[in-house]
């Protein structure tokens, strides 16, 4: 009952976000919001950017790569040099090279895969200046690319798709900062720590125990961690840590924050291409998969843990509680997990490794579908639009016309770019997972053997390749091998999609539109949603079917049952 209310409340919050946050975002990216002008204008002056000039897709892409390159170097530098830098009350040494590479790429690409324990590895400066900064800008960059693609679809005969610097700056200033600030206050008010005073030493005189409690600037980082679909927490235990995600309210807030921008982007899309229905069709597609996966995963986690049952514990009234926080319980945890893996967040309020095989399958497959339901900030929408273009191409042919989406003809170039963007992730993930299982250094990383060990490796590379960042644990990723290939995985998973998307935005913007008639392939009705779902599930999902059958499926069948 309480969980049903949670779901209803979530639906209500997201509906409001869709309508009002969406409308606000439209205003932001149309350049109609100015209330932080005194902050905004100096940034452009500093960057030497004329906010009124627009860029071609190439200019946009070059700016993005340039910005990302500088971000990578800066983050890497801070991590390496943190021992010599201020705000390091624990006197932590510089982060090793391979780990710094992996971590810098991870936060740059909005992945937030963490091969380290935050409280024992990162100084406050690293957490704030390197990691939290990237949590803001990587989300802003993701949204900017989505907006560029939307402009490409909405404009006709245009050679420009917006200005990367303006989009990124406005997204950060007007969207992410204010919401993260407000949400941060809630986190801190609920009990998340926010201090620069270093760890607290606790003398429990009653029990005669002395304990060092790590602390730091956690609460506000937590807000952008979820809002920016980043997922990289301050502490190793991520959102399971009571100092990071203290209450059921903050747990709920976390879920809502992860989902709100990706959901609102469908409204932005609809408004900016001139038909809210078009955005609703995308939202419906997202909702169908999200709801099915939530039902599947919560059901799986409500079942008794098969391994525990096999050990002779007959009563597990709450379902699978292994690795879960008592203050959340299996249902809320499963919902959090689904939200976290179907956005590109990857934060965790439990040990995903301890989910039932099917529960774990729900999380794993959520990522494997390409994280489009609703996906990460920006990345969810632009990846979904790639799927939509492929769906339009196949479906459009079936009505006997050159396929078109929103009046734009989908021809060889568009098909090429969309295919590239959709397929780079599965190809990268499978190739790297194949490599990891083939090489002794890769096999050595898995904690478990057999199917579960395989799932651990597969999960790690899937998570990084999709810029999710959630960990199945079990895998020791902090080896040179996993740090290096993980970095490659994340870079390809991010820029291997973004760059084709920008090229696509350019190609689409330049096109004229075909007027709508009765002979036009409709992309705002139920038939299209069904078609799009089919393409996501078959084209996006089936590539991983052999792999998951060797992992979670075998594991589940080994326990001799599918459900319960």
């Amino acid at each position: 009952m309480a969980f049903t209310l949670t779901l209803l409340a979530l639906a209500a919050v997201l509906a409001l976000a869709w309508r009002y946050l969406g409308a606000y975002m439209v205003a932001i990216y149309r350049g109609q919001v100015h209330w932080l002008g005194p902050l905004e204008r100096p940034v452009y002056r500093l960057l030497g950017v004329d906010p009124k000039s627009e860029q071609s897709w190439k200019g946009y892409a070059v700016s993005l790569v340039l910005f990302s390159g500088v971000s990578l170097l800066l983050t890497y530098g801070i991590l390496r040099l943190q021992g010599q830098l201020p705000l390091n009350p624990q006197h932590l040494p510089g982060v090793p090279a391979a780990l710094s590479w992996n971590t810098a790429v991870s936060f740059l690409t909005n992945t937030n895969w963490q091969n380290y324990g935050g409280e024992t590895t990162m100084s406050y400066l690293s957490q704030m200046a390197a990691l939290t900064v990237q949590q803001f800008v990587s989300a802003a960059v993701g949204i900017a690319v989505a907006i560029a693609l939307i402009r490409g679809l909405g404009r006709r005969g245009s050679s420009t798709i917006g200005n990367f610097w303006v989009d990124t700056v406005r997204g950060t200033l007007y969207l992410l900062l204010p919401i993260a600030f407000l949400a941060g206050i809630v986190f801190v008010a609920q009990g998340a720590v926010q201090t620069l005073a270093g760890p607290a030493l606790i003398h429990d005189t009653l029990n005669g125990v002395t304990q060092l409690i790590p602390r730091g600037p956690v609460g506000f980082m937590e807000a952008i961690k979820q809002l920016g679909t980043n997922g990289g927490g301050f502490f190793n235990a991520n959102s399971a840590d009571p100092l990071e995600n203290p209450t059921q309210l903050t747990n709920f807030l976390s879920i809502a924050l992860m989902l709100c921008i990706p959901v609102a982007l469908t409204y932005v899309f609809g408004k900016m291409v001139g038909s809210t229905r078009q955005g609703l069709a995308l939202l419906a597609t997202m909702a169908v998969i999200f709801a099915s996966w939530t039902a599947f995963t919560t059901y799986a986690e409500a079942q008794p843990n098969p391994a525990v049952a096999a050990a002779g514990v007959s009563s597990q009234p709450q379902g699978n509680m292994e690795g879960k926080e008592v203050r959340f319980g299996p249902l809320n945890t499963a919902l959090f997990g689904v939200a976290s893996t179907q956005t590109s967040t990857g934060s965790a309020d439990a040990s995903y490794d301890s989910f039932t095989p099917l529960g774990g399958l729900g999380l794993l497959t959520g990522m494997m579908l390409g994280e489009v339901t609703p996906g990460g900030d920006g990345s969810g929408l632009y990846t979904l639009l790639l799927f939509a273009l492929i769906a339009v191409f196949i479906g459009g042919l079936m009505i006997g016309r050159t396929p078109e989406y929103l009046g734009k003809k989908i021809q060889a170039r568009e098909v090429k770019l969309a295919s590239l963007g959709v397929l780079v992730m599965p190809i990268t993930v499978l190739a790297l997972a194949g490599m990891a299982t083939a090489l002794p250094v890769g096999r050595a990383g898995a904690f478990n053997s057999g199917p579960h060990g395989f799932t651990e490796i597969l999960y790690a590379l899937t998570s990084q390749g999709n810029n999710n960042g959630s960990a199945f644990a079990g895998l020791n990723g902090n080896t040179t091998f996993y740090n290096v290939i993980g970095g490659i995985d994340m870079l390809l998973g991010r820029f291997g999609v973004m760059l084709p998307v920008l090229a696509l935005a350019g190609a689409l913007a330049a096109k004229q539109t075909v007027p709508v008639s009765l002979g036009t392939f409709r992309t705002d009705n139920v038939t299209f949603v069904v078609l799009l779902l089919g393409v996501i599930l078959i084209v996006g999902g089936l590539t991983f079917f052999p792999a998951i059958s060797l992992g979670p499926l075998v594991e589940q069948f080994t326990h001799g049952r599918f459900f319960g």
Binding site: G396, I399, L430, R443
Partner: protein, 688 residues
Amino acid sequence: MTEIGLPASPRPGPSARGVAQHRGLFDREILRGALLGSVRKLDPRLQARNPVMFVVLIGTLITLAEAIRQPTVFSWSIGVWLLLTVLFANFAEAMAEGRGKAQAETLRRTRSETQARRVLPDGSEEVVSSGALGLGDTVVCEAGDVIPSDGDVVEGIASVDESAITGESAPVIRESGGDRSAVTGGTRVLSDRILVRISATPGNTFMDRMIALVEGADRQRTPNEIALAILLAALTVVFLPVVVSLDPFATYSHAAVSVVILIALLVCLIPTTIGALLSAIGIAGMDRLVQRNVLATSGRAVEAAGDVQTLLLDKTGTITLGNRMATALVPVGGHTERELAAAALLSSLADETPEGRSIVALARDRHELAATSAPAGSEFVPFSASTRMSGLDVGARRVRKGAADAVRRWVEEHGQVVPPELEEVVTRLALAGSTPLVVADGGDTLGVIELKDVIKPGIRARFEQLRAAGIRTVMITGDNPLTAATIAKEAGVDDFLAEATPETKMRLIREEQAGGKLVAMTGDGTNDAPALAQADVGVAMNTGTNAAKEAGNMVDLDSSPTKLIDVVEVGKQLLITRGALTTFSIANDVAKYFAIIPALFAATYPQLQALNVMRLHSPQSAVLSAVIFNALVIVALIPLALRGVRWRPSSAAVVLRRNLLIYGLGGLMTPFIGIKLIDLLLTTLHAY
């Protein structure tokens, strides 16, 4: 469109008797050629052009090598069926090409070398081979001569038998100047003598180019075909790591997988069905157009036809029958309708024009007036440009029908006046788009015959269907706006262009295109050439000028303006067939997974048998069944690829829903049934 004799209206019906003889889908001769062709096409250089089938070929070779190294019934079976998969794909393409070749052969018969009488500058003649004729040469053709090459008549007039191209036996008139000056090589002069200036270099005549296209000799892949090929290549590329990575995955899981099964899985997953049939679909699309006696200069034009959103249709011949028919009688001056009918009948009994015959028919049907021939001793007064009347003189009685002002003058010459209401009746009928013919008997004005352009039966329904499919129809006519509006309304076209001139047509096309629409039109005259070139699909009439044919991207050998609608249909069919088979192919993958994955790891993970939802007999029978299904489905779909998926004009939503259900859901379900049946058959035969 001028022909000798009747009918003056476009020839009825699509020409089954045209160049393109209908052949059965599996004509024996073509079949034999295709079987040979499918082996010949194993050439890796040809295969490399189709990445999907190339991967299958490589897989076949590896499997066969494995089978030779470690011979088992299983690996040989897989190897052979994979080879068959490639052969079936080749067969599909060879079938399509074979049908094209057969048609090209028919066309080529017109192209045999002939002797030409070239006129030299000094006026003398020399006899040369038609192959030696160059651009600008002038030749003489007399009755019985075969015109040696494409050209324009520069002097004289002749009747020409063009049945070699059109299949139509009625001869046509060709004369110098104007829109009937073009002659085609291979046609025969029946009467008179003409001088023809050659307008094509040898081997590059209009027909030569058409033959090459029909044959598929220099077939260029069309834009949409290229886009689809890219998608298919991408879907092939993505399944490579899926299968290759399975090897280390399986090794990690201590499960050994054989190369043969991995290749079987790969072939089953990549879109072989559509990959195998893609080029056949393209060739067959072209072929279907030829069957309707339309030759396209490029596959691109056929594809564009599917995209057309505006059809510019000539009124005469497309929308109306082209003849004015008597539809009503309006008496004036106190006469009865029957009196009028009797006089009208009398005036028309000897009138053999279509209008005249329609008046006879009306009088007979409406008033049961039974006279069948002119009374003895009567004399027919034919229509002339100066009198603008025709009629009959029976003794002293003079009956006339004609244009209102001409008849009025004639009546006034008899010292009478026309009834006052005549003016009003005539104006009313003219405003309604009809042609009023006034009938007078001596000085007595009896009334008015209403002649109307008759809308072709069924055309209105056809336009409604087109409208439902989102295609706008615009009627082009030389009539005045009032008449045009009436006919447009009656025919149910969306819009009309009255008093059309080449310039206004051109402007209309530009306007439509500026709005992003694709426009199709037909034309025959030289002054249509710019518009034909500007239109996205320009169908030139074969009876038209060479300029028109050059400007358009299709030629209708039947010269029937109604063809435009057929052309659109063929274009749509082409795209729909591609989309339907792609959907089918991709949807097939689901069942194949369920067949192969449990089989793949049967030894290591017997638990995965839970995924064996089809309850296939054994791992080997499961894999083999999937491979056999994958191969056979190609053969099963060849007829569909060649014939094309049917398109009935209806809204995109309806078409999509239907095709999604048939090819999407069907594609999902069919292999579950098919693979199970093959597995049962294999088990029954004790193959496994």
